[in-house]
Subunit: 363 residues, 4 copies
């Protein structure tokens, strides 16, 4: 389905970095959910994340909702979010129009679209397109929250500096929502930022890990085959540009452990049943078990770096070199965290509506 | 879509471990593809993998094709694979009927199916259901091979013992097809087997990593958003029981690297364009770049172990203990590799048919 | 999705007229629904409809359920129905192997499958494939019935002889289930049968109309665009071989009326709201209004007739003639009615599960 | 999928009659297709169809394309069409806010959206939403035309006055594109218009029939089950508000005919194969046969009439009456024809891309 994802609650995204507008259509969400435009704006700001380590455009990413909201609440019909591109003046893209930037999608876009793609600023491949996901995701997050389901993502590592993990400690994930630089242990914020600036000073960039937790998801959501919770979430989350891996619970950590270390024991107490550890990340057999759902994403370093790189001229396929100019983020992991929250929320809204019906979020 | 996956080429699976039969329906594959029943049987044998480290049922997993093949070739209409369960005599499942096995889906099945699930031998959650995927996958692998696309999976690590990686060396992945224990470096076969047997002797089990490579995939397959190659493959691959993580190319390795180390340089030579490294695993912007597609799966240790475990009685939700009897594999990673090949092949057939049309495989 | 239909509750069909077996996989239906094998057998018999006006094979269409049913109830996982073809001995199909039968799909099958299709007895295009739909539909009908939703189809016209319409009279649609020849006015049974036999004696065949009613469908099911009740039902119902038209409520009758004749007035009485007429067939804006859902299907005459017909030899595309031998039904409308019930039931199960969740049928 | 339709080429629609904007996202169409904004504007004008028999808003329905078009051609990524609603000033809707208009979706919207729907001017159910389909459809029509596939719809009947049929005569369907009032026989234009005005003068409305033909569709498109050409087209076409029936080829006419009258004979001449009649409407076994694809739609009279009607107050469900004010079309069949062309084109683009691949339209 290309630019549409979801069966019962579905999101469609559109736009190019330097086109007229970008945005999203969020379809199938229950009627009657209050739409908090201020919260949407806050989420948009988190994605832009201006400052020394980010080079967001100066434009404010103002979201216009042109359908699906009436008297401050969702109507149950498609909600359309439009973010006009301000800075779209025609200019000379020079060699970027034909030289494939290493680590970017220029070469594969050429293979797929035969030269008709909008190459300006990465076109439809630009990370900017995630703004539509963040706008739609904000409404999805509100819908989940009203049902007691909270989503939170933090920077688990960046440039080799590590935060604590959701796996090790009980975490106040709600607090993450209010942090500009989303870490659990506030003391790692400075060394992480320094690692990013160090890379920047070298004309280079750094990668990192995001860790997401979902609290309050009921047990019994997901399918044993194909539409496993892991599978459906992964399908959506690999859309976040630069993500190259995902792991649930102990993830790749399970490979070197024994069954006795990985099997989470079940216990009952005071009428509730739970596991005393969470190596499975809240998912068994593709289905939620009622414990926190936990996963981690591998985010590669920004491919736009200032060092000279080897590449080809796509007009002739001759060998050449490329030195990228302009302003580019030396890391994107801190901006991607709100995208991870958004995509997770959109996906879970769909899974929950499929499981409990389209009125689930207004019941 | 639960038990169906794919848009143009789709596979549907069905069955329970101790029901009448298991199987799969493979729909949408082009007409005219020779169906090699001997190759299907070989693939089924790899999945069963009898021997000291495996405890497959004694039944031979004979695949019966009841539709979609005529005069030895695919007709273009649904191909149905049926594998009758031989050993389905009624017996007393004792406490397994109501005690949730840690690490298994018993508890989540109860949350989803409210007690009506077939609990015998894991029912529809059983790894045995992958037999249908392997049968269908064998035809998909043949279809790909005829187009010069080869899929191969090896055991990258098991019980802490490592094989070489596809990332480091050029590998003859076709040779893997003929190995009973799929490793690139034959010398690691023995220590891996020993690690598995050591766990078995402890009444425990071990996990491992699978690494898959696809050679010959044309550039330009996949989508920038949602239906990225990574996303669609992940969606399908998390159906393989015990998989808890997936990473493409350098995967989680990119998190601690800099952009200059991760950006694969483009070069042209003798009329072909390629990258001189493959940190991206053959995928940029969700689309194949013509280089080998490479990914790794985290496979958790078999949850069936012989140690006493804490659990709950699902009739009353009281705390209790469970000691699993019977014969169970101390590792599944070596059996899962043929499932990884199969699911990869099925997914790529769909992506290729969407890209190039339903006649792609008979053109 | 070709041979799979449905999002939450989905059916997949497979098989060829003279292959090993035909059947269906019914996925996504709630757990805990009693499966009545006797009712399934009755439905299969209605489809076969032996007698002077039908020429069903002698084989009894015995349905084997190999998955998804445990202890007499659905498990919530895929239910697989298999009907083995008894009469599959190899024989000489003569000119039917290469001459396109007018009104049949031989010519279009050739265009799509390039000669690799199974041509024997129509292969995958055979009306026989509907047996799988009827088996799956029987379980869907039971699930609906348990929620107070009743589906019934009668022969509105056949060979120019008309039954009364659901639009004109309150009808006991439940009684239709027990009639071999499904008409509301029992007195039309004989003239209809005579019309069929008259055509048969001429070596010809007759068409007819089916009319279906669904009682008890709650208001609020369906979507304003694309997934309208009319649209989704039509999508599925055109799979019934020989159907060339569908109309809801007054259908094509509305074309020659005025708004004042077609707008159904709303009234409330004793706490329930209804319309005093039902020109809209129970659907407004694509969504059920709580009144009986009513539609009619145009069924063309059986294309297999005994008169000499003009056609082409598909090996050479030369002009030739064809005279069909063997036994063929002079009408199929009376056999198709149970298929209409089945397809309607399967489609509504999906729409209801999407609307109210996957536990709707066991709540 | 609610407001999204299509697998390979998909359209998503959004908006409400009096919301901020309406529009569509067209995804999956091949790159490199010239986008003719003038043709889009012409199509929009046909839908508005101002004059004595139409009461379109005065606003010009200006289409803004904000993504997916670069340098005058499609990029292969989502094309977004936005039509701002001009006349959206807040005003008192009076009793229309709570009285269910007979023949409209007010009552079913209430059942589905529980009062949160945007009721103003029919909200998301308004015929105005088809403007997005017409904009997207214009690009689809251009894509088809470049491949030699022409779509044309005319008013077969309106208010009891009939045009000639595509079934009877060879027709220059391309000429229809340039007619304001789309009839084949220009002499019926006046009596049809008079019938519409007569109804208007009575405070009433009239229905009619649309007939669509597609020339140039290659043989071999469509599927034998579920995704039959008839089924997929119907699924989409029932989205056109007021459509209550569809029939292909001879449609309901086949019900009263014999097989010998309905089987279209095959002939070959000068290297091409065809049928000498077209009772099947260009489709056999769900698959195109290379002849013109022909179908007819039943369009009900506009439900907005000026006579007093019986209805209920949806706040209390008490009986009441309603007299609709304002300006409303006494017929919509003449405006709907361009919507029929558009929806047909969008659906065929999807079917063709599934069959021949995503590069079909730029090959």
């Amino acid at each position: 389905m290309k630019n549409t994802f979801g069966s019962s609650v579905a999101v469609t995204i559109f736009g190019e970095s330097h086109g007229g507008a970008i945005g999203a259509v969020l379809d199938g969400l229950a009627p009657g959910i209050p739409v908090d435009e201020e919260f949407i704006a806050e989420q948009m700001d988190k994605r832009r994340s201006v400052g020394a380590i980010s080079t967001a455009r100066r434009e404010p990413d103002k979201v216009k909702i042109v359908s699906g909201v009436f008297q401050g609440k969702t109507t149950g019909t498609p909600i359309t979010f439009i973010i006009e591109n301000q800075d779209t003046r025609s200019r000379d893209y020079g060699e970027l129009a034909y030289k494939a930037r290493p680590g970017h999608a220029d070469f594969t876009a050429q293979a797929k679209y035969h030269g008709d793609q909008d190459f300006r600023g990465g076109g439809h491949f630009s990370g900017r397109i995630t703004a539509g996901l963040v706008a739609a995701g904000a409404v999805a997050l509100s819908a989940l929250k009203a049902k007691g389901i909270i989503v939170g993502t933090h920077i688990l590592s960046c440039g080799g500096v590590w935060d604590r993990s959701f796996q090790d400690i009980p975490a106040d994930i709600a607090a993450l929502a209010h942090r500009d630089f989303a870490v659990l242990d506030m003391s790692v914020s400075e060394p992480m930022t320094e690692a990013i600036i160090a890379a920047k000073n070298d004309g280079d960039s750094v990668g990192g890990r995001l860790e997401t937790a979902v609290y309050g998801l009921p047990a019994g959501v997901g399918e044993p085959w194909f539409d496993t919770l892991e599978g459906v979430l992964s399908h959506a989350l690999f859309s976040i540009p630069a993500v190259k891996g995902i792991e649930f619970g102990d993830g790749f950590g399970v490979c070197d452990k024994r069954g006795s270390q990985v099997n989470d024991p079940f216990r009952s107490q005071d009428g509730s049943t739970f596991t005393t550890s969470n190596a499975c990340g809240g998912i068994l057999g593709g289905i939620s078990d009622g414990m926190p759902l936990i996963f981690r994403l591998a985010v590669k370093p920004t491919p736009s770096i200032y060092k000279e790189q080897l590449t080809v001229d796509m007009r002739t396929m001759d060998n050449t070199t490329l030195t990228i100019q302009g302003r580019h983020d030396p890391a994107i992991v801190h901006r991607a965290r709100v995208v991870a929250d958004s995509v997770t929320a959109l996906t879970l809204c769909d899974m929950l509506a499929l499981r409990y019906g389209t009125d689930y979020f207004n019941a």
